[in-house]
Subunit: 498 residues, 2 copies
């Protein structure tokens, strides 16, 4: 089904005064509005604790657009669709008020009873809100009802299961849109297309031709204002359980029968089921954790993690994870998927490097290896695809040099591709859950990750073990060295833009 | 064997006042000289009919460098190595004089008796000169002797055989360097490296993954001053017998055991032996000939071929050839190699397009075909590699768009790659005959081409049949349409440079 380009709905945002709403949701809605991809008659209700008026809220919306989009074009008309309701998430009266406003707006804007509930707030309230939405009658509507939930979805398998059980009282699985904003990124969405729309790649996409796959998602930032959450989470739960494993699934999945939500999710789930569980003594062979010490980033001295605001002095929280994943199926047996992610690293970059096996026989460079062929998928901040191939050096001797075939998404479009949130909001408005995570995926990835955290929580770390501004602890390099591989330097792989 | 970067030799150029010498050979020698790739003690003797002095010749050399290289740096020292000898190619006395001068220079420059005889003149004298070089003692030397011969090597198999028999009286096969200047082009030399130094391409390089290969070598120029030769040759002999078939051989050959001259030539010969002979009634199914009518090129009216200077009014000479070649071996059975070449076409361009088969199942664009993957090798004027792949369009819908992964040789080096002649001269100085054509290749390609010319010569053409400025006759399009293919528009395939 290819949906209409516009879709009518009331959008209720819980946590409307928060950072995510201001930085991502309002700008995304504005972009959709400007592109004519919001129905003419849409309405947004923002809720939060503060006692704002509609007008105050609208001023805030406009400020967010001016700050993060950089324009005030049609801003008054856009903001006029926004309404505010002060809200206490634990108080039924709040929900009853909200219901009244929702019904008014439904009539005023002819919204056909369609409702999207977007939970952009602290996860401890997800369950409570879902309960109230049902018990106070907000989910009783003649249109569709959809629940959008930000991460984290639970803290481990057990808490995720109990959260899921709770929200499933109010919403069916197909009404739940679990956000993983990586799945909204243009080049993450491109993984499938690269694989399944090109005769060129699929024949090589297996253990006969691929030697290993490396996924790096590095940040320069430290924990910033998020220590209260991060101290309980760490990089494994914050990044690996969701984003990193989702990228692995998209890279490793079998071609689906067709491109429906169900078929794609079912293939992704099969990858998680084939993922070799790493537990007990195996954990230290397959996984490395790290925590940043003080160091230098962009010529600025920065403090170590343990000296950050709201971090305990002996914190055992990992700010870096590297791991080796094995997918035990016919396609991938023997091909390691290496992942690494962390804070306070050398560069901000998310890249996937697919390294091909060496050619069967080296006719060139008798005494040195030929550079292996690489396919690099640049996820962020630059977007593009690079293929590293060997060509002939100019001059007489038969010497090869690695050259890059580049495609840069930015260079091509002239403008940045739509923000992940814009895509995901659009998908949700149209009932397309393909780029949201199904409960089965959440459960399997928690199961995988829990076995690792269990070992780490019961064993003292030797933190801090990497300098801010480096690419993580030495052990992360050793992880690949033992397989005779090494991390490709992500700073060296950039698309050469003009 | 990796030779020294410099090599000592006396270079004798027959046809030293001609166009090729001025435009290509002197500039190439100058480049080698500037790069330190000519031995310090090199010497060049130019010969031709004119009664020039050494000084007049040197002035001419300098003029050529200034005109075609655009510098006069170290030009006096460079020119001082050049000597001139007025010469009558049929007169023994001339050769005896030449021998004397050669011996003097040998002593003066310590050239170790090494001699390269470069025949840059009308082909009718090749045999005569080779005879005299032996009979008048020039080939009697303690160093190496090498004969470099420009095209055409014969007019058909019979004349080529008799020329070959004649020169083999004076030179052994391994002393004969038959120039095909396409083999000196950077990106033609890259075909092998792309194929054999990349794990990425070789597994796909066969009839399971490739649907067809298209080689276009188009010129904007008409016959210019060459009608006297061209009237007797035509595009088939002038371009197909040598350049086009050589590119086919490099694309189709099996990986050689090692990269020696013998092994590579032996694999190329095997391609020619597997080439399906096209004869009799088959010719019009596989080959199309054309001759340009008047038309418009770059907004200038140009005359038809039959109105060109020195062309007979009813000329039957083809200025365009398109053909379908089949290589009947395991790797290529069923994959057509389409070639086309001609004068007065839309653009000056030599490109190879490798078109891959469609993916087994189209998950995207239900109602339209996905763009096929293409690997484009840009031979001239631009040099580079482009891979056409499908990526996801930005925006919500699952739509693909073809994108190009580009590598541009120029962009990479900042400067143009060495001219073909520079490379080939360098190779010859070092005794590397890999990028010259072996007699076996010449013989097999004449055998193939002769069967086609035989049919064409005995059947009146319907010339002129294409307009100057077009891409050739309609029948060239039909040739591919009958296989459900079509020519890729070479003007549309360019590397997007910055």
């Amino acid at each position: 089904m290819i949906p209409n380009d516009t879709s009518t709905s009331l959008i209720m945002i819980f946590g409307a005064t928060g950072d995510l709403a201001k930085r991502k949701l309002y700008p995304s809605l504005y972009h959709l509005y400007k592109k004519g991809k919001l129905a003419e008659k849409f309405a947004v209700i923002g809720t939060a604790r503060r006692a704002w008026t509609h007008e105050q809220f609208r001023e805030n919306i406009k400020e967010s657009i001016i700050t993060f989009v950089g324009t005030n074009d049609q801003i008054d008309d856009f903001a006029s669709h926004f309404y505010y309701q002060p809200h206490d998430v634990t108080d039924s009266n709040s929900y009853i008020q909200l219901k009244k406003l929702a019904e008014e707006l439904d009539t005023k804007y002819s919204l056909q009873g369609n409702r999207i509930f977007y939970l952009a707030m602290a996860p401890e309230f997800f369950g409570t809100i879902a309960d109230h939405l049902k018990s106070d009658g907000l989910t009783e509507t003649i249109g569709f009802k959809r629940l959008v939930i930000e991460k984290p979805f639970g803290h481990d398998l057990e808490s995720a299961e109990s959260l899921n059980a709770q929200i499933r009282q109010s919403f069916a699985e197909e009404e739940i849109y679990r956000i993983d904003h990586y799945l909204g990124k243009a080049m993450v969405q491109n993984i499938e297309v690269i694989r399944f729309a090109n005769a060129f790649f699929e024949p090589l996409w297996n253990n006969r031709y691929i030697s290993n796959i490396q996924i790096t998602s590095s940040e320069k930032l430290g924990v910033e204002e998020r220590a209260r959450y991060y101290e309980k989470s760490g990089a494994l739960r914050d990044m690996v359980q969701n984003h990193m494993l989702q990228m692995v699934a998209l890279l490793a999945m079998e071609p689906p029968i067709r491109l429906t939500t169900e078929e794609i999710r079912s293939e992704k789930v099969k990858v998680f089921r084939a993922l070799r569980p790493i537990e007990g003594d195996e954990v230290e062979k397959y996984f490395v954790r790290g925590q940043y010490d003080k160091g230098t980033i962009d010529n600025n001295e920065v403090v170590g993690y343990r000296d950050e605001h709201n971090v305990v002095p002996q914190s055992n929280t990992e700010t870096f994870v590297a791991g080796k994943l094995m997918i035990d199926n016919f396609r991938w047996a023997g091909v390691p998927f290496y992942i690494r992610t962390g804070k306070r690293l050398t560069t901000k970059s998310t890249k996937i490097v697919i390294q091909f096996k060496n050619i069967p026989m080296n006719l060139y460079n008798k005494n040195e290896q030929l550079s292996p062929n690489l396919l690099v998928i640049h996820i962020q901040p630059e977007e593009g695809i690079t293929l590293h191939v060997n060509a002939k050096k100019s001059g007489r001797n038969i010497q090869t040099k690695p050259v890059k075939l580049n495609f840069s998404n930015e260079a091509d479009n002239g403008i940045n591709t739509p923000e992940a949130y814009e895509k995901l909001l659009y998908d949700c408005l149209h009932g397309d859950a393909t780029n949201f995570t199904h409960w089965d995926e959440v459960a399997l990835s928690w199961r995988f990750v829990d076995k690792i955290s269990e070992v780490w929580e019961n064993k003292q770390s030797s933190f801090p073990n990497y300098k801010a501004g480096s690419m993580g602890p030495f052990e992360a390099d050793k992880l690949l060295q033992q397989d005779n591989f090494s991390w490709w330097d992500v700073t060296d792989l950039d698309v050469e833009n003009c």
